[in-house]
């Protein structure tokens, strides 16, 4: 044990927390927008994979990691556009389409990877960290949290942005109306389909960024199915947050911390089966729900297609 918990190690663990949190945060925030607007977006695992692939491909082809993120966002948005077309415009069943898009994205990205990268497994250069003046000087916390890739700061900056969007802008009201009583929004002169389309595209963009973060920053490579369930955890986070971005961040941090803690314990030689540790976050959340028992209210029209004038 002795001398294990050096600064370097603790820093690495904290850095690990951040690295594990960011994709979940982006996925959760993305899902949250769709859900607020009444679209149950089961397809975000697919959006994330597409983002991971698109991000990696562009970054690799262009050699520019920032362009890579753009590509990731677009990749996610492409899937988002399909979701919007099928579920918002055509009113298809959201769960069916969501699962279909996830399966499709898994297949397509795996095929593309097989055709292009499965011989060479190219790996990307690291994104240069951007130390925050002052804060980065703090021992341990500084290097771990404030000497990070710029995208990390941007991801966390989204939280206050969303709080502002939801609470201080018309869009916030419109999203909530679209999710709770679309007909009321419609008769107030705002197109429900437009708002929901915007929401789903925004989801695609954010989740795509999340995927790009996985492949560009967190891994530096693309391997098939590398999102590894992050998208689904994002769905859970968004639902638990009941519309609050701050709660999504909290949830994402809990999961990220658990993952990093697992590593810490193992490295410290504490013998705990990984399966058990994997369950901890979920056990924790279920326990909280059980005792706190607050009604986890979801938008009334969640999952239902809107058709004007239908009784």
């Amino acid at each position: 044990m002795s001398g294990l918990f050096t600064d370097a190690f603790i820093i690495a663990l904290l850095a690990g927390v951040v690295a594990a949190t960011v994709p979940l945060l982006l996925a959760g925030l993305g899902e949250q927008i769709s859900e607020k607007a009444g679209v149950l977006n089961i397809g975000i695992e697919g959006m994330m994979l597409m983002g991971a692939y698109g991000g990696f491909y562009v970054a690799w082809a262009s050699g520019n990691l920032w362009l890579g993120f753009l590509g990731g966002g677009i990749g996610g948005m492409v899937v988002g556009a399909l979701m919007a077309l099928f579920c918002v415009r055509m009113g298809l069943n959201q769960i069916v389409v969501g699962i279909a898009l996830t399966l499709g994205a898994e297949g397509v990205t795996a095929l593309l990877h097989y055709e292009q990268f499965s011989r060479l497994y190219p790996r990307l250069s690291v994104m240069a960290p951007l130390p925050i003046p002052g804060l980065s000087q703090i021992p341990i916390v500084g290097p771990a949290l404030f000497t990070r890739e710029p995208v990390v700061y941007l991801a966390f900056a989204l939280v206050p942005l969303f709080v502002w969007l939801f609470r201080r802008t018309q869009l916030g009201l419109m999203l909530q109306a679209a999710g709770d009583k679309p007909a009321a929004l419609d008769t107030a002169g705002v197109s429900v389909l437009k708002i929901r389309t915007i929401a789903v595209l925004a989801t695609g963009l954010l989740v795509g960024f999340g995927g790009a973060f996985l492949s560009i920053v967190a891994a530096g490579v693309f391997v098939p199915f590398m999102t590894h369930g992050n998208g689904f955890i994002g769905i859970v986070l968004a639902m638990l947050a009941r519309g609050r971005p701050t709660w999504v961040m909290g949830g994402a941090l809990v999961f990220g911390t658990c993952l990093s803690a697992t590593t810490a314990l193992q490295v410290a030689g504490v013998d705990v089966p990984t399966d058990i540790i994997q369950m901890l976050p979920f056990v924790a959340v279920m326990a909280v729900l059980l005792v706190a028992g607050r009604k986890a209210r979801l938008p009334a029209a969640l999952g239902a297609a809107y058709v004007r004038g239908e009784r």
Binding site: M1, L4, T6, A8, F9, I11, A12, L13, A15, G16, A19, A20, P23, Y114, S118, R119, L120, Y121, R123, L124, S125, V126, L214, S215, A218, A219, G220, V221, F222, V223, P224, F225, M226, H228, L259, S260, T263, A264, Q266, V267, G269, V270, D271, P273, T274, D275, Q278
Partner: protein, 308 residues
């Protein structure tokens, strides 16, 4: 039959290439069914049997129940892994492919080369053959440098494709002092490689990576220290021969240093003097001066790496 695509520079690729080579040598046709996953493999086994396969090689411990059953049904000999007790005259033989001897050597190598006195083991799961190699590696290290610290971490129960996790965990190990990483894990091992390539050891120096099964030299950027190479061709060749001779199922197969089916990869990162020392140990193992007994359960891995 393999569970994943044969392009992983690892378990699946070695299995497929070994079989193809053996087949070519013996002049028998080899049908490859790859990327079958771990779900329901029976239909494929049955179809291959119907198509007149003379030997079914079920190259995943996950197939060790289905394969013998289908084999019995169509009475086609089958080869399985990790289940020696299923040996059955004319029907089933096991080739427990574990590079534990090679892993022991890798441990020796690592112990001799570590500057920080700390080495790390990263795995993306705890299947038997990996446990055997992890323990052997640890034993090799201990035998050479008893005071070397060994750090061990599992990315997740089944994190085979979790490249991001691989990188994260590996970075933690490096931060914990490791300057040599012994990594086992399919897709996720590319994340480990990325971590090794992009992170400095605590002493500011380079971190080196020891791989298993395959030879990643083609995609190496100069951080590959070595690899516990497997070559399954001799095994498969032996099987084909036995089937032809009608003595299949009378004995199991394994891979070892002696017949070269297990070997340690020599790279430019290994100084010659150390390499010769390692070769000496290799000889001892072959001569039986040193015996490496495989331990397939996760518990004995943890026992070895805990409390240092």
């Amino acid at each position: 039959l393999t569970p994943e695509q044969g392009t992983d520079y690892g378990w699946n690729q070695q299995g497929i290439e070994g079989a193809k080579a053996a087949g070519a040598a013996a002049g028998v046709e080899v049908i490859v069914a790859e990327n079958l996953g771990y779900g329901d493999v029976r239909p494929t086994l049955q179809e291959l049997a119907e198509d007149g396969a003379g030997l079914l090689i079920a190259h995943a411990s996950g197939y060790n129940t289905a394969a013998p059953e289908v084999g019995a049904q169509y009475d086609v000999p089958v080869a399985v892994v990790d289940t020696p007790q299923s040996l059955k005259e004319g029907a089933v033989a096991d080739y427990t492919a574990s590079g534990h001897q090679g892993a022991y050597l890798a441990g020796v190598l690592a112990a001799k080369m570590t500057r920080t006195g700390t080495v790390g083991i990263v795995v993306s799961g705890e299947p038997p053959s990996w446990n055997a190699q992890s323990t052997a590696f640890a034993e090799g290290v201990k035998a050479t440098q008893p005071d070397t610290v060994i750090r061990y971490a599992v990315i997740g129960p089944a994190a085979y494709s979790d490249a991001a996790g691989g990188k994260r965990v590996t970075e933690s190990l490096i931060a914990a002092g490791a300057d040599i990483i012994f990594g086992q894990g399919n897709g996720s091992s590319f994340g480990m490689l990325q971590a090794v390539e992009t992170t400095k050891a605590t002493d500011g120096g380079k971190v080196l990576f020891i791989d298993v099964i395959g030879d990643k030299t083609p995609i190496d950027k100069g951080f590959l220290l070595s690899s516990v190479l497997w070559n399954l061709e001799p095994v498969y060749a032996g099987m084909i021969a036995d089937v032809k001779a009608g003595i299949y199922g009378t004995h199991n197969y394994d891979i070892n240093l002696k017949d070269g089916s297990v070997d340690l990869l020599k790279t430019a990162n290994i100084p010659d003097d150390i390499w010769t020392e390692v070769q000496a140990v290799r000889q001892d193992i072959i001569d039986g001066k040193i015996t490496v007994t495989p331990k397939y359960d996760a518990a004995s891995v943890h026992a070895l790496v805990t409390g240092n």
